[in-house]
């Protein structure tokens, strides 16, 4: 009787605790495997990106969904640089929580491929092998592993461009067309400063964000040097690298560089609120002026960068992005189909271009009528300008998996020079030394 009376309670207590424990455990597991798509057979493709690329990809979604009945594509703006933390965390967790498709910056690609070999799906068997001829070779090769298999389809391609204020040049009596080298630009900057008070350009001197290195990267690339050379050795101490930082020091000592934290963006410069004569940016920026500074139309013009030495390169690659499919995706083929449709068909690319106005890597697009038209804001065919720059023989960028470390080491050297007045050559040599210690890489002979 007694046992009969109490047993159900005991069982109830045990069952309750067990159920609770099981529910928690299940919840934990479920939390670990948040991948897109609800069940096997569900057809939702999730895409991560940021800003303009997201606008572009979203524009291609309706046409893709029409071709694939029952398929939903969700394009999410995760924000840049927040996206890299999220992707890295997901990769480190074996792919959980990641979407099907990710927009990956060229500078991150080799790092992800080396660090997380199982992070991205091999696109070659999915159909990427047919696409190679349609893309610039340098960018295409940047998303390959040693075995030659493809892990990303190029999205946008960028090349450095210089935006300049025609009104300021005019007030200072300088003809921008007469400037062929950066040294001439520096002299022009002195005249502009004297006449208008405007700085020549702005740099995030304290390097609050890694992008503070952009200007130096452009100059260094124009001298065919970069963080690493072809062998993967550290290239900080090469003549091109040192000269680039020397130039920045000269401009800084002459009081021509405005200090603008990267987080403020370039909008206030585009609007003329922070007066600068130059905005050294890249091809992606062409489309931003009409939005950011409509009232300044007619005051901004765009050109390729002046050369470091007369007759040298007037172009520098400014990276690009890829669409990659995650290995954790349950619908790899379908995800790839979306990537191919939006990146490598004229129909999809047209929609993506109209949505995001980013310069496409897909070469057949360059032949279309849209690319023959003049840009409304600048009054010239900016696409022509970009293609001219892309056609110059710029060397490939050797990012390696230690790019982020190199970028940090460089940024610190730049801060030492611009904020504390250090000697560029010494600062770069120290940075090379530090990086060599961190990565075990050799320092290239300058």
């Amino acid at each position: 009787m007694t046992s009969h009376f109490s047993r159900p309670r005991r069982w109830a207590a045990r069952a309750g605790a067990l159920a609770l424990g099981a529910a928690l455990a299940a919840g934990t597991l479920a939390g670990c495997s948040t991948s897109s798509g609800d069940d096997a057979g569900s057809k939702t493709i999730t895409v991560w990106g940021w800003g303009d690329p997201v606008k572009g990809m979203k524009a291609a979604v309706p046409a893709f969904e029409k071709k694939h009945a029952g398929v939903t594509v969700k394009v999410q703006d995760v924000g840049n640089p927040a996206i890299w933390d999220k992707v890295t965390t997901g990769m480190a967790a074996g792919g959980s929580g990641l979407p099907d498709v990710i927009d990956v910056g060229a500078d991150y690609m080799s790092n992800y491929l080396e660090t997380f070999p199982d992070g991205f799906a091999d696109l070659t068997p999915l159909g990427a092998d047919k696409l190679e001829k349609n893309f610039p070779t340098g960018l295409w090769g940047g998303a390959q592993k040693a075995d030659g298999h493809q892990y990303g389809i190029p999205f946008e391609v960028n090349t450095s461009l210089i935006f300049y204020r025609t009104d300021l040049f005019q007030q200072a009596g300088v003809d921008p067309a007469s400037i062929d080298t950066w040294d001439q630009m520096l002299d022009a900057g002195k005249k502009i400063k004297a006449a208008t008070g405007a700085d020549l350009f702005a740099v995030d001197k304290a390097a609050t964000q890694a992008d503070a290195a952009n200007f130096w990267q452009m100059l260094a690339r124009q001298s065919e040097s970069f963080f690493f050379d072809k062998k993967g050795d550290i290239d900080f101490t090469s003549k091109g690298s040192v000269d680039a930082l020397e130039f920045m020091k000269k401009a800084n000592d002459a009081g021509l560089i405005a200090d603008v934290p990267q987080s403020q963006g370039t909008t206030s410069q585009a609007k003329g609120e922070t007066p600068v004569a130059l905005l050294p940016l890249a091809s992606w920026a062409v489309s931003t002026f009409a939005n950011d500074a409509p009232d300044m139309k007619g005051k901004w013009a765009v050109r390729t960068p002046p050369a470091t030495d007369a007759g040298g390169l007037t172009a520098a690659s400014a990276g690009g992005t890829y669409l990659a499919v995650t290995k954790a995706s349950k619908n790899q083929q379908l995800a790839y189909d979306f990537v191919e449709f939006s990146m490598a068909t004229l129909e999809g690319q047209q929609l993506v271009y109209d949505g995001g106005h980013l310069f496409p890597s897909f070469k057949p697009m360059w032949e279309t009528d849209a690319f023959k038209a003049d840009n409304d804001y600048f009054g010239i065919n900016t696409n022509d300008l970009v293609m001219t720059a892309l056609n110059q023989k710029t060397p490939p960028d050797y990012y390696t998996k230690d790019y982020a470390k190199a970028l940090k080491a460089y940024d610190d050297a730049q801060t030492q020079v611009l904020v504390s007045g250090a000697d560029p050559k010494k600062a770069l040599a120290d940075a090379a030394e530090l990086l060599a210690g961190q990565t075990g890489r050799k320092i290239a002979k300058g």
Partner: protein, 313 residues
């Protein structure tokens, strides 16, 4: 649970006194097990979300990612920590911030707590809340607020300085000022929190002690040194240790304000750990840094505890 066992126990006793001994033993067994059942969710969560990550980080700290494979490298990562100039820099920065910021903050917090406790103060509740609000503020809002305050060209602080004829200060762009900015932000963020802890302790100091001190002719200042401060000792020990641990693990402020810059002037150990893990994907090295940091925190806390206890006795 106890109630349940006793009720069923007494029920059993009244209904079947003869059969009592055997079921009672079973019941005590059950009674002993049931607390664990109730703890099970917490234990599962602890194992899953605390013990597992902590132990896995220990395993990771002995590995290095080579060509995508985590390879065992023995103590290499730890050897690297001790020969890494940036780790040394981060440790030095952290210690500099610690020895300046923690005492300043705690002194302000004691003074605030005494003020909050004063019967002369009007709008006490409002002021207490006002000083406590920063602790509730999220990382992002905090970052935006201080970026706006400290901005070189249009920041509020520089506006104040220029309006009294002083030059602008490069709060975030100069290596030394950036440290000052971090200290300012930290103090703003945590002083209220410590003041509230002190306030709670102050309110437990019996009024009679002050009356007795007054009878003995002690003035206000003597009362503060001889009654208030000794009464605050337990809270002081607690806050010194908590603030030290918090500052050693400092991450939020440099992350949102300076990114560790300029030129590593505000690079803290936490920031350097984050960079290695999430920027350089060097999880093995980052884990090793984490364990070294833990060891430093543990040693320092024990030392503080011993010193402060000895003083107390």
């Amino acid at each position: 649970m106890t109630t349940l066992t006793t009720t069923s126990g007494s029920a059993a006793a009244t209904r079947a006194p003869a059969a009592a001994p055997a079921p009672r033993r079973r019941r005590t067994l059950r009674g002993r097990h049931i607390p664990y059942l109730f703890l099970l969710p917490v234990i599962l969560l602890f194992v899953g979300f605390k013990a597992y990550p902590v132990l896995y980080a220990l395993v990771l700290s002995f590995t290095s990612n080579k060509g995508g494979v985590d390879t065992f490298v023995g103590f290499d990562n730890f050897a690297r920590v001790f020969s890494d100039p940036l780790f040394g820099r981060a440790l030095l920065n952290t210690v500099q911030i610690l020895v300046i910021q923690v005492p300043v903050m705690l002194v302000i917090a004691v003074l605030l707590a005494v003020a909050f406790n004063s019967k002369l103060l009007k709008a006490r509740a409002f002021l207490r809340v006002a000083y406590f609000v920063p602790i509730v503020m999220g990382l992002v809002a905090y970052g935006i607020l201080f970026s706006a305050l400290l901005s070189y060209n249009d920041g509020f602080l520089n506006f104040l300085l220029t309006s009294v004829g002083l030059p602008r200060v490069p709060w975030l762009a100069d290596p030394n000022w950036a440290k000052v900015s971090i200290i300012l932000a930290l103090t703003w963020h945590y002083t209220g929190n410590n003041a509230v802890i002190y306030l709670a302790q102050l309110q437990s100091i019996p009024e009679e002690l002050y009356e007795a001190a007054a009878m003995d002719g002690a003035n206000r200042r003597q009362q503060f040194w001889n009654v208030t401060l000794p009464g605050l000792r337990p809270a002081l020990v607690l806050t010194v240790i908590l603030s030290t641990i918090g500052t050693l693990q400092l991450f939020d402020e440099p992350y949102v304000l300076t990114g560790g810059g300029p030129d590593n002037a505000t690079l803290t150990i936490g920031m350097y750990l984050y960079n290695n893990a999430f920027k350089y994907f060097d999880f093995g090295y980052a884990s090793a840094i984490g364990y070294v940091l833990t060891a430093i925190v543990a040693v320092l806390s024990v030392v503080q505890l011993l010193v402060l206890r000895r003083r107390a006795s």
